[in-house]
């Protein structure tokens, strides 16, 4: 008991970290193309850095990635640390974590942010262990305290029932993986100037224990985070076959198909389509929920959509209460009719850009 109190007292003291300075953002890339979350996080990093008066740096690892350093500057980095090495051609935990940990030990940032993507989570967990510091997972809100430059990384817990704020008081850097699609991409300024700092990896190919054999791109396009319209299906669909109906509707709208956890767990549609707490957070212009009752885990992943349309037979479904437009009826009749209607409207010269002009601009896709 006494020890626990002592531990809590220790935890309340923020030591001096004068030698740690600046906010870093990890630029996630594959084949020289950056993941959008890398730029989204530069925006929020820039805001926090301005509040406390420190520089923002990006870290770029890869092979032939000089163009990404330039992009990072244009999106708001003051400095870019670049490790360009053939060993980093493909993402591999060991090599990337080694590179990032080395940069952190040499240059001592006070904060490092990563996307909470598969790659971001993979590398951040390893880096946190190498440098022995705290790592908050999947933050959806970030803020900074003037006093001690303490990062408040807040995240949904237990399927979004609770939000919790994670602090890392006694270790630097403070690290967090952050959800993609939550923070807006800052404006890009091609004239912006920044400093590019080349760094060495210090690891040979024969020291790396893994080897990427092949990357097989997903054939069916599932880019939920950048979709303007999402057509999502849930348990109410009753089986995998009914998703064809949603793909048809999605095609007539240039939309992307999403799914609830129940539908994914039932094996009706791959995980890549899952929206919600354990899937992706989305904020499209229009979200159409078909046969999704609206478990809280799902709602937290889509409730910031500009317009929500819900079709369900159960008038008491929480999704219908959240929706802007609630249709109580049989989706197995309504959806095919809707697809036909939309195809007819398109043929008659209606807008190709459905919903575009009538709705507000979405900062994420802007």
């Amino acid at each position: 008991m006494v020890e626990q109190q002592a531990a809590e007292r220790d935890a309340d003291q923020v030591p001096e970290f004068a030698d740690h300075r600046g906010i870093w953002v990890y630029v996630q890339q594959r084949g020289g193309v950056a993941a959008p979350v890398s730029w989204q996080l530069l925006g929020v990093a820039r805001q926090m850095a301005q509040e406390i008066g420190v520089p923002v740096a990006s870290i770029v690892l890869g092979h032939d990635v000089a163009h990404l350093a330039k992009q990072a500057v244009e999106y708001g980095a003051d400095q870019v640390y670049v490790i360009d090495d053939p060993v980093l051609e493909s993402y591999r935990t060991q090599a990337y974590a080694h590179g990032i940990a080395g940069l952190i030990q040499r240059h001592k940032p006070e904060i490092v942010l990563y996307g909470s993507t598969v790659q971001g989570r993979d590398v951040a967990g390893a880096v946190a262990t190498l440098v022995r510091t705290g790592l908050a997972a999947d933050a959806t809100e970030l803020s900074i305290e003037q006093e001690g430059h303490l990062l408040h990384a807040s995240r949904p817990d237990f399927g979004g029932k609770l939000m919790s704020t994670i602090l890392c008081k006694r270790h630097r850097p403070q690290m967090a993986t952050c959800r993609q699609g939550v923070f807006p991409v800052p404006p890009r300024d091609p004239k912006r100037k920044g400093e590019v700092i080349p760094e060495a990896l210090g690891l040979r190919e024969d020291e790396v224990l893994t080897q990427v054999v092949e990357f097989v791109p997903e054939t069916r396009h599932v880019d939920l985070s950048n979709a303007e319209i999402i057509i999502s299906g849930g348990r109410g669909l009753g089986g995998p076959k009914a998703f064809d109906m949603l793909f048809d509707l999605a095609e007539s709208l240039d939309a992307v198909v999403g799914a609830s956890r129940a539908a994914v767990m039932a094996g009706w549609i791959p995980y890549q389509h899952q929206v919600g707490q354990t899937g992706q957070t989305v904020r499209p212009k229009i979200y159409v929920a078909c046969g999704i009752s609206g478990a809280i885990q799902h709602l937290v992943g889509m409730q910031d959509s500009d317009v929500i349309i819900a079709i369900n037979t159960d008038p008491e479904a929480p999704m219908l209460k959240l929706a802007d437009y609630a249709i109580v009826g049989d989706m197995f009749q309504i959806i095919p009719a809707l697809t036909q209607e939309l195809r007819a409207m398109r043929q008659n010269g209606h807008s190709e850009n459905a919903a575009g002009p009538a709705l507000e601009n979405d900062p994420v896709s802007a």
Binding site: D10, R92, K169, L209, V213, I311, H350
Partner: protein, 282 residues
């Protein structure tokens, strides 16, 4: 073949309670289950045992009640189960948890060398996915996260090839053994516990290892003290206030479809059906 599966017992329900003093979750009294992703890790290990022979050891860190999760793992076909439990482990974040599990894996390896450690991709409660990378990094073993499929397993040649679910596709990676693998739910289809395994599980007593058994002298690495992160605040999220819901009668599917089509094309639902001037700039 010796596979170690690191599992976590998680609260089953939406019944989340928080200790207002420590801002940590109260797990006592809440019904618990084996974390769903971890069940797939156990299943995969048992399948490897069926194919190659060998043993499956399951390990967890948690309070005494986590024994139940280990018994469940035995019922799915694991051979041995170890509970790492000590009052001083309490309050551990992912860094402190991976430290204790690392010590446990080292001790298990002393008993019998390990070919691979399997974990679930993420836990239902914390949802961090950080413990397996922590464990792999401490062991100095490769980590293969978010694995969809074990493609080629070659225990004699000390290598494994897996399919990983990554952004935009599937990555096929070859790794040296031993390594740490985190399993997605796509990796296999769960099977029911067999009757003999259920009987065995009911009588099974997991080994109990405390911090002394794990050879942990340095308490600054474990529990609350070994945890760089703290939860400072827990609150119920505010829902964004949305406007009122407009209910559309779906009893006539054609009419409902027409109303919806107008909304989707950016035209207010109430307006007349033919409003061609809006949105024709596209």
């Amino acid at each position: 073949m010796h596979a170690v599966v690191s599992i976590k017992q998680v609260p089953d329900t939406a019944e989340v309670r928080i200790d207002p003093r420590t801002n940590t979750m109260i797990r006592t009294g809440v019904p618990s289950i084996v974390n769903p992703d971890d069940r797939h890790a156990i299943e995969e290990a048992v399948r490897l045992k069926e194919k190659f022979g060998g043993r499956v050891t399951v390990v967890t860190m948690g309070p005494p009640q986590a024994r139940e999760a280990l018994r469940e793992a035995i019922s799915y076909g694991a051979d041995d189960a170890i509970l790492c439990s000590d009052r001083r482990f309490a309050g551990a974040d992912t860094l402190a948890t991976s430290y204790a599990l690392w010590k446990a894996v080292l001790k298990i390896a002393e008993i019998e060398p390990i070919d691979l450690v399997l974990c679930g991709r993420q836990a239902l409660d914390g949802d961090t996915g950080q413990v397996p990378p922590g464990l792999a990094t401490r062991l100095g073993w490769p980590q293969l996260t978010s694995v969809l499929k074990l493609d080629e397993v070659d225990f004699a040649g000390r290598s494994i090839q897996v399919h990983r679910a990554v952004e935009g596709g599937v990555e096929i990676v070859k790794s040296k053994l031993p390594c740490v693998i985190t399993c997605t739910r796509e990796i296999n289809v769960l099977r029911y516990a067999t009757f003999p395994n259920m009987v065995r599980a009911a009588r099974y007593q997991p080994s109990l290892w405390d911090k002394t058994d794990l050879g942990i002298d340095d308490e600054s690495q474990i529990g609350l003290r070994g945890s760089p992160t703290i939860v400072s605040k827990v609150w119920a999220p505010l829902r964004r206030q949305r406007g009122t819901t407009q209910v559309i009668d779906g009893s006539d599917p054609q009419e409902a479809a027409r109303s919806l089509a107008r909304i989707l094309m950016g035209e207010p639902a109430e307006e007349a059906p033919v409003v061609a001037e809006r949105g024709t700039d596209g």
